[in-house]
């Protein structure tokens, strides 16, 4: 009991992996994907794939060789569209009221 529940101002900040961090954010899944790839084949020939690296929400992941878009946990920041060397991302906003919503911001 007790001791564990006492607040300790010197306790290290707990480490959270990305999934745990994303769990702290509200995502209301929209009726349709607001981010899609224009041509999947274009991603196959892309060597650097900067979209995989740039997104703090890890929306772009690689499954085998294929680039997958996890748009339902997208933070709507737009860096993927800016960084894509082939301009291969159809980028838009989720429908009104859907998508990410913060508590603090």
């Amino acid at each position: 009991m007790s001791d564990e529940n006492l607040y300790d101002p010197l306790k290290p900040l707990p480490k959270l992996n990305l999934a745990d961090k994303l769990y702290k954010v509200n995502f209301k899944r929209g009726p349709e994907a607001h981010i899609t790839l224009k041509e999947e084949s274009v991603c196959l020939k892309c060597v650097e794939k900067p979209c995989l690296n740039v997104c703090p929400f890890n929306v772009f992941i690689l499954e085998e060789d294929k680039t997958i878009v996890n748009w339902d946990s997208c933070g709507e920041m737009g860096a993927c569209r800016v960084v894509c060397p082939y301009d291969n991302i159809n980028w838009g906003y989720p429908a009104g009221g859907f998508g990410v919503s913060y508590t603090y911001g």
């Binding site: 997104c55 860096a79 800016v82 508590t103 603090y104």
Partner: protein, 432 residues
């Protein structure tokens, strides 16, 4: 037939709500469209809310606005792997109203409150509404088209739709973004009891501090970190150029983890609890790469126009608010003449040029180029100078004279004084 209002403002952030407030007070028919389920819900920043403009719009803001702490201390910190070299300024002079017009805030409650003031004044706030395109009549913009095809018409559209501003793109006012001058930022809000924050940062009551980090905070990438105190939490985050991030070996959340685990930062965060994780993009392309700010029936304000002072002041929301005010004033003059053409709305640019908005943007116009070529400032120099300090203060049987000589010798060898001097001149030119 689509409904028609006097002005459509897209985006209920600082720019849009400021414009809506001014226009609604003049009795105009204003629609303020917001794509979030309520104003503020999509918004965040890693900054200080400067309130010089807000205090003119809403003089009672000190009592009403959901402010966190007033910033009376600013710190700049160069980090290497195991060292820090800091410069800090604080003054009691900022502890009395109006508190140097500098506050930490949470954007979700603040933006909601601010949009609420526009609504009280008579603006029609329409949440959960995405304006996806502009509506043309010949070469004139006469309204916006929503997700789903419905149209709303107006004499003028004010695009305050944020950093990605799809509307200014559809209105053919902007070029594609450049990844070097767009900053991607990741942030966490860390809950912490008030008394821990106040004792750890040497603060009393609602005093607050702001820190900017350089160097190893972001593994020497083109960018930096920030730390702000709120009432019962800290806002901590990192920002890097989208290009640098995309082509680095690290992911943003890894850089953020690296930052919060840095020995000089982790000690500050002890006893904290992660409350929120968030990300946003910041337009830092500067004065020379802004979109065209007006067209037939349209003006662009706030982040949508790239109004961000990326210098050590780190000012964005204040520029946004004033651009909203000036867009509103431009509309009022145009409305009187009944002329909403590009030629009439050109006044917007003139007003901006005569105000601190574009004067400051102009002053810091060389920053984006400097940053792009400033690798040494983000990596080499923080490492070198913390190392020189470490050498200087390392005790040994060497005489102090020898230690000093050693430090100078290392600076001459590693610092390459001529190149360093040139770099310093470039930096000074970029901020002068």
């Amino acid at each position: 037939m689509a409904d028609k209002v006097d002005v459509i403002i897209v985006g209920a952030g600082p720019a849009g709500s400021a414009a809506a407030l001014v226009l609604a007070r003049k009795g105009l028919d204003v629609a303020l469209l917001e794509r979030g389920h309520k104003p503020g819900s999509k918004n965040l920043f890693g900054g200080i809310l400067f309130t010089t403009v807000l205090s003119e719009l809403i003089p009672e803001f000190l009592d009403e606005a959901p402010l966190e702490r007033h910033i009376m201390r600013r710190k700049f910190s160069l980090l290497s792997k195991d060292s820090e070299l800091n410069m800090e300024f604080g003054t009691e002079a900022f502890n009395t109203p109006p508190y140097n017009h500098s506050f930490s805030v949470f954007r979700v409650p603040f933006d909601e409150w601010f949009a609420g003031k526009a609504e009280e004044a008579g603006a029609m706030v329409v949440p959960s509404t995405v304006a996806e395109d502009v509506v043309w009549d010949g070469d004139k913009i006469i309204g916006v088209k929503m997700h789903g095809g419905e149209e709303l018409h107006a004499n003028v559209v004010i695009a305050a739709d944020g950093v990605n501003s799809l509307l200014s793109e559809k209105a053919k006012l902007r070029q594609p973004f450049n990844g070097h001058s767009m900053i991607m930022a990741a942030k966490m809000v860390i809950g912490m009891p008030r008394e821990v924050i106040e004792s750890r940062f040497c603060l009393e009551k609602d005093e607050g501090s702001a820190t900017q980090y350089f160097g190893d905070a972001v593994k020497g990438l083109f960018g930096g970190g920030f730390l702000y105190t709120n009432k019962e939490s800290l806002s901590i985050g990192m920002g890097c150029s989208v290009h640098a991030m995309g082509y680095s070996k690290n992911k943003p959340e890894e850089i953020l983890d690296h930052m919060v685990e840095h020995p000089c930062i982790r000690k500050i965060l002890r006893g904290g609890e992660i409350l929120e994780y968030s990300g946003h993009m910041i337009p830092e392309y500067g004065y020379d790469h802004m979109p065209k700010l007006y067209g037939n029936g349209i003006m662009v304000a706030g982040d949508a126009a790239g109004f961000v002072d990326a210098s050590h002041y780190q000012e964005g929301t204040n520029l946004a608010m004033y651009s909203g005010v000036l867009a509103a004033e431009t509309f009022l003059a145009a409305h009187e003449k009944g002329d909403y053409s590009e030629a009439s709305l050109k006044q917007y640019r003139t007003k901006l040029e005569n105000s601190f908005v574009l004067k400051d943007m102009k002053k810091f116009r060389k920053l984006p180029e400097f940053g792009k070529n400033g690798d040494r400032f983000f990596k080499e120099y923080p490492e070198l100078f913390t190392e020189l300090m470490k050498d200087y203060f390392t005790m040994s049987m060497q005489s102090k004279h020898e230690i000093e000589k050693g430090v100078i010798k290392k600076f001459l060898k590693k610092g390459k004084p001529f190149r360093f001097a040139m770099d310093m001149i470039k930096m000074i030119r970029a901020v002068r």
